[in-house]
């Protein structure tokens, strides 16, 4: 591993801008790292060396030309395969989309390219972002760089493993119920889910439209904030995109790094603790709270009594929307087609295609969602779940009357062994227990490393009111600054 792969994104961008290192050198160093370790991690589904080097050369040329470079120009990035990339295979981790070459770029892909960010390739994920372990990928699991026998979290486990494994300083994930925050926590990274509507969804292959948000992975809070600002902002192509200024997350990360949280009230959510939380997780979390207090924050207990209903509500809403979003994979316009031998009807071919092209978890959720939306059950399931969303949002609103941010462990446990929960959907779903409330309410939330438990990373989740994304960065940066050295330095060499 060269020094270039150990640099933060901010330092890399600075070096590229100053001309002390070329973007091509940075890119080649990361491609070499991928070549050296990815056969063990399986973080990437596609490595686009040619495209990456071309983007790097363009940055170097722009610098030579005296052009102003973006804040992350020349910095390599691992892009979750749920994000559509023109002329680069995009599968969303599914066999049904294997070989699909999109004719267009997602808005965030375009923004990354325009900012001079170097896209190294597409990362592995749970199929259609359904999962918490990346074991549900049609293309095999990804391994956690901290312990190859464990999961890297999910569904954005390819991106989290790539960044934790120093294959890229930055990664993009998407978070529907915790799919950025949970993998960030178990890989010892910073991962943020912006306010719903803060980052365009145009070109994200939809899992659950009312919940999906793309966000950054990085090894530092500042790096995550820099990436957040590149991808965020209003997009007329997404009707749910918020037409408001991007919260000043970079400035907040810088101000938080001074370690001063004076005047800030941090609410600790009572309901997100207790039984099921590993002692090591609870201990690291408690230690983090004392550090926040030491930084000048007031720490208070706060109760959000409907948070316990987030999991059932989520597992109705997300599968319902998914059952509809995934209907289009029918073997007519793109993707897999199975059984078209001239004897079968279209209806049969569609059903065989979907049966063969979707994995078990996807089918399970499609059936669950179909059930929840079907006549006679809609009111009792989907309708009630939408009401629970209202109740959870009210809980948040009440809590934010007295607190500036809320905190909890990001996930009840550290990374679990590959295969441990594969046959137990409910156990797998429990990994998202703490991240679901902010998802349902559309609020910004972030996971920041807060310690190790038996040598594995633990994350602390910070949640803030809508559009106050800057607060989560400020608190995270202050906590980050309170530790003597970054936890990621303790990750084993691969």
């Amino acid at each position: 591993m060269t020094e270039l792969t150990r640099l933060t994104a901010a330092a890399t961008a600075e070096a590229v801008a100053a001309g002390t290192v070329s973007a091509v050198d940075v890119t080649e160093a990361h491609l070499a790292r991928i070549a050296a370790v990815d056969y063990r991690l399986h973080a990437f589904l596609q490595v686009d060396a040619e495209g990456a080097l071309q983007a790097a050369r363009a940055v170097d040329a722009a610098r030579a030309n005296g052009d102003r470079l973006g804040a992350l120009a020349g910095v390599p990035l691992a892009l979750k395969d749920v994000v559509v990339t023109k002329d680069l295979e995009t599968t969303s981790g599914s066999a049904i989309l294997k070989g699909w070459i999109p004719p267009y770029d997602a808005t965030i892909t375009r923004r990354l390219r325009e900012a001079g960010v170097v896209i190294l390739g597409k990362t592995n994920m749970d199929e259609f972002a359904m999962g918490s372990s990346t074991e549900n990928s049609a293309f095999g699991p990804t391994h956690n760089p901290w312990d190859l026998a464990r999961v890297p979290g999910g569904s954005s486990g390819g991106s989290s493993a790539a960044v934790a494994g120093f294959e890229a300083p930055l990664g993009i994930g998407t978070d529907t119920g915790g799919s950025i925050r949970q993998p960030a926590a178990v890989c010892g990274l910073v991962g943020a889910k912006p306010t719903y509507g803060g980052v365009s969804r145009y070109g994200l292959i939809a899992f659950s439209s009312s919940l999906d948000q793309a966000g950054p992975f990085a090894r530092t809070v500042l790096d995550a904030a820099l990436l957040h600002e590149v991808i965020a902002g209003h997009d007329p192509a997404d009707s749910t995109s918020i037409d408001a200024p991007v919260p000043p997350v970079v400035a907040a990360a810088r101000s938080g790094a001074t370690g001063d949280l004076g005047g800030l009230t941090v609410g600790v959510v009572t309901e997100l603790s207790g039984e099921g939380y590993q002692p090591g997780v609870t201990a690291a979390f408690a230690d983090a709270l004392t550090r926040l207090e030491a930084a000048g924050a007031k720490v208070a207990e706060v109760s959000c009594r409907h948070f316990g209903y987030a999991l059932p509500a989520y597992y109705l809403i997300a599968p319902s929307e998914a059952s509809s979003n995934l209907a289009r994979f029918d073997g007519v316009r793109y993707g897999l087609r199975v059984g078209d031998d001239g004897t079968r009807t279209l209806e049969e071919v569609m059903a065989l295609t979907r049966e063969a092209g979707f994995g078990a978890e996807v089918k399970r959720r499609i059936i669950l969602g179909t059930y929840a939306l079907s006549s006679g059950y809609y009111a009792a399931y989907y309708g009630q779940a939408q009401k629970v969303r209202t109740l959870i949002t009210r809980d948040f609103r009440a809590a934010f009357e007295t607190c500036d941010v809320l905190v909890s462990p990001t996930t009840p446990t550290v990374a679990f062994p590959i295969g441990e929960r594969a046959d137990d959907p409910m156990a797998m779903y429990a990994a998202d227990l703490c991240t679901l409330p902010a998802s349902l309410a559309g609020l910004p939330a972030l996971s920041v490393p807060c310690g190790l438990s038996e040598g594995l990373p633990v994350g602390l989740q910070v949640m803030a009111p809508a559009l106050a994304d800057d607060r989560i960065y400020r608190v995270a940066a202050a906590l980050e600054a309170s530790y003597d050295s970054p936890f990621i330095d303790e990750a084993p060499e691969l």
Partner: protein
């Protein structure tokens, strides 16, 4: 099944209840949720993009003009405009739907509770409108390998998504009852009136033959004096105004046959066939489809500002019914005249001709008479004739001032129809002016007298009736450009008799 029942038999025992669902493709420039063009007739799959192909990751954004057009329609149909409403997903698999769901409206339509009055045989029937909602159209499927181009017997099908995503308004009536034998005419009159309104509003080109106006007809029968509605069927594929009437009529007959023989009506979708005037049952799965509607999460709610709705309302053009009332007043036309003019398709033409200075009587005579005949002979609508109301008014004026005789006027009009030139140019080109010059006429009269000395003598001898031959000769010599009455007077004068 052979139909042995007569329509009168059916009406004697059953009361029909009808309902109409009309789909209207809006004439917006771009599609409902993407910027692709809506132009009809393009090469297949050349007007598609990630959104209207349903590519993974694409998202819809609503076309403002489609919302405005729908509100316009709702207001013209006397509907309430929702203060807040949403789109919903209607989930079902079909290859012409790129996302395998249709973005439509379910329990929150944009417009509700309106009405439309239609005239049938001089009587007004109020058709209540249940809802007007907005959705996206599907692509077009071509069935290959079967004998008829129909789905049945096809070996495979081909899909073109150019039409997918074009904004489609669905106008749904409440059940229309109490119209008895007139049910087929009411159905036709409703669709006709709706078509005229949509055309007047400028929201659609309403071409049934191109599918921009499509009609589904619900029909049920109940025994006279029964209160419960009978089982209804839905007839789709009704693609002309004439077919609307035929579809209701044939379905009434079909259902009556079944009921008469103690059989039950199956609630089903049927497909109208233009060639036979009958319908065939659709092939659907046994169980009812469960569309699993839910609010479209990729779109945000619509809340039309009341001030916006008021602005749209204020900008509505004069609607056909109001226009007809105004024109009837202006023309002094009776209901009977108006119906006759409407049936001939000349109401607007007559009105514009009058506005251009012609008398109502003359304008009506021309359009209902000679011009209607010419239109009929060439099998076009009078409005499609290549003569404008202004040109007709000019011809009428030229007759009034004596420039043209009635016979010449017809020749001028025919000349305009042939060439599209203005009447004055046709007159010049063809020399169709009335000959009023006394010298020319006298010379022609003298020639006629010289050519027929025996007849001239008879006239001089008091046999005035014989003068007709001489008048005819003069008219022939002047190629009809002389006024026959003047010729006759001049001739008699010349022969020294006053004709008494």
């Amino acid at each position: 099944m052979t139909q042995t029942l007569s329509y009168d038999d059916v009406i004697a025992r059953y009361e029909p209840v009808i309902g109409l669902e009309t789909h209207v493709e809006l004439g917006t420039a771009s599609k409902m949720f993407c910027g692709c063009s809506t132009t009809f007739g393009a090469e297949p799959n050349t007007q598609t993009c990630p959104v209207c192909l349903g590519l993974p990751g694409s998202l819809p954004v609503t076309n403002a003009a489609a919302i405005e057009f729908t509100i316009r329609i709702g207001l013209a149909l006397n509907c309430e405009i929702a203060r807040w409403c949403r789109f919903a997903r209607k989930n079902y698999f079909y290859p012409d739907m790129p996302k395998d769901f249709q973005i439509s409206q379910y329990d929150e339509p944009l417009c509700t509770d309106g009405w439309l009055d239609v005239d049938v045989d001089g009587q007004t029937v109020r058709v209540e409108i249940e809802r007007v909602h907005l959705e996206e159209d599907t692509g077009k499927t071509l069935h290959v390998g079967g004998a008829t181009g129909r789905i049945h017997g096809a070996t495979h099908s081909l899909v073109d998504y150019n039409r997918a995503g074009i904004p489609l308004v669905e106008v749904v009536t409440k059940p229309v009852a109490g119209i008895g034998s007139r049910a087929p005419q009411v159905a036709k009159a409703y669709v006709t009136e709706l078509r005229d309104i949509l055309r007047t509003l400028g929201v659609s080109d309403v071409r049934m033959e191109q599918g921009s106006l499509r009609c589904d007809v619900n029909t049920s029968l109940r025994p006279i004096a029964a209160s419960a509605l009978g089982t209804r069927t839905e007839t789709k594929n009704v693609n002309s105004l004439r077919s609307v009437e035929r579809a209701v009529r044939s379905e009434m007959l079909r259902q009556a046959e079944l009921l008469d023989t103690g059989r039950r009506i199956v609630q089903e979708t049927r497909h109208f066939q233009e060639d036979t005037g009958r319908s065939r049952p659709g092939r659907s799965k046994e169980e009812a489809t469960d569309y699993r509607y839910f609010p479209e999460p990729d779109l945000v709610p619509l809340a039309p500002e009341p001030t916006w709705v008021d602005t749209i309302k204020a900008s509505l053009p004069e609607l056909p019914s109001a226009r007809r009332r105004r024109i009837a007043g202006e023309l002094g036309a009776s209901d009977r005249d108006m119906i006759a003019m409407a049936n001939t398709g000349v109401v607007d033409l007559v009105a514009v001709t009058v506005a251009a200075g012609a008398s109502a009587a003359e304008a009506r005579n021309w359009w209902m008479g000679h011009l209607a005949q010419q239109a009929n002979a060439t099998d076009v609508e009078p409005a499609a004739l290549s003569i404008t109301p202004e040109q007709v008014a000019r011809v009428i004026a030229l007759v009034a001032d004596g420039t043209l005789s009635t016979g010449l006027a017809r020749q001028v009009v025919d000349g305009v129809l042939e060439t599209g030139h203005d009447p004055d140019r046709v007159i010049d080109e063809r020399g169709l002016r009335t000959v009023t010059d006394a010298g020319t006429l006298t010379a022609a009269i003298d020639e006629a007298i010289a050519a027929h000395p025996d007849i001239a003598d008879k006239v001089r001898g008091g046999k005035v009736a014989a003068a007709g031959v001489l008048v005819g000769a003069v008219m022939k010599a002047t190629r009809g450009q002389a006024d026959a009455a003047s010729v006759r007077a001049l001739l008699l004068d010349r022969l020294g008799t006053d004709g008494e």
